[in-house]
Symmetry: C2
Subunit: 123 residues, 2 copies
């Protein structure tokens, strides 16, 4: 499929897909006049990339993890595996922080509601 279709199917902009390719996250074959062609598998791949972006990984880091998923027999896979475990831990720590922050927000909301209700009752 051409880039526009991949964009439509993944919800990622054409611009971003070209950028992913430029960063080595995505590979395309060029057809005739130079237009990119992608396979059906690339849809899942783009989804995966997106997920890692959401998790706060940079394109550089995502690139390092790619062999682990798409070329698991590579000799670099040990390093990629370590990298992945490391990112998993980072993500876990981040999640923990966010849970903590959410608790803070909950406390704040509860306090603010109580405060507001106090004021309303007093008024």
């Amino acid at each position: 499929m051409r880039i526009g279709e991949l964009a439509a199917r993944t919800g990622v902009s054409v611009r971003s897909l070209r950028y992913y390719e430029e960063q080595g996250l995505l590979v395309s074959t060029r057809s005739g006049g130079g237009q990119r062609h992608f396979t059906h598998d690339d849809i899942e791949r783009v989804d995966f990339i997106q997920r890692l972006y959401v998790a706060g990984l940079s394109s550089r880091t995502i690139l390092e993890l790619m062999p682990c998923r798409y070329a698991p027999s590579d000799e670099n896979s040990d390093a990629a595996l370590d990298r992945m475990a490391q990112e998993r831990d980072r993500l876990s720590a981040h999640i923990k922080e966010l849970l903590h922050t959410r608790d803070s927000l909950d406390d704040l909301i509860t306090a603010a509601r109580a405060d507001r209700d106090d004021r309303r009752t007093a008024a």
Copy 2:
């Protein structure tokens, strides 16, 4: 305390503290020749700001939440409260996504390890 001390106590750079003030997240009194003075409470306040930054809120959004925490009797507090609940939900959704991503990474790690071990056993 002066800005350098606040920076040291919070682990936030002097540059960033000035930026926070510029964005209205922080208020200082100016002493004599124009130097900023902060109170002890500002330490906790900066920590709070940092936490929200980590949670992915922008300075603009954080600013909107401030009345809720530091001026709860303000008439804007209803709006701030809504905003805060909204951000809480956004954060919750984000956490859910991250948990999902972490699961993906776990699966990947598990698969990659099995794959590697297979290769080692085969060799």
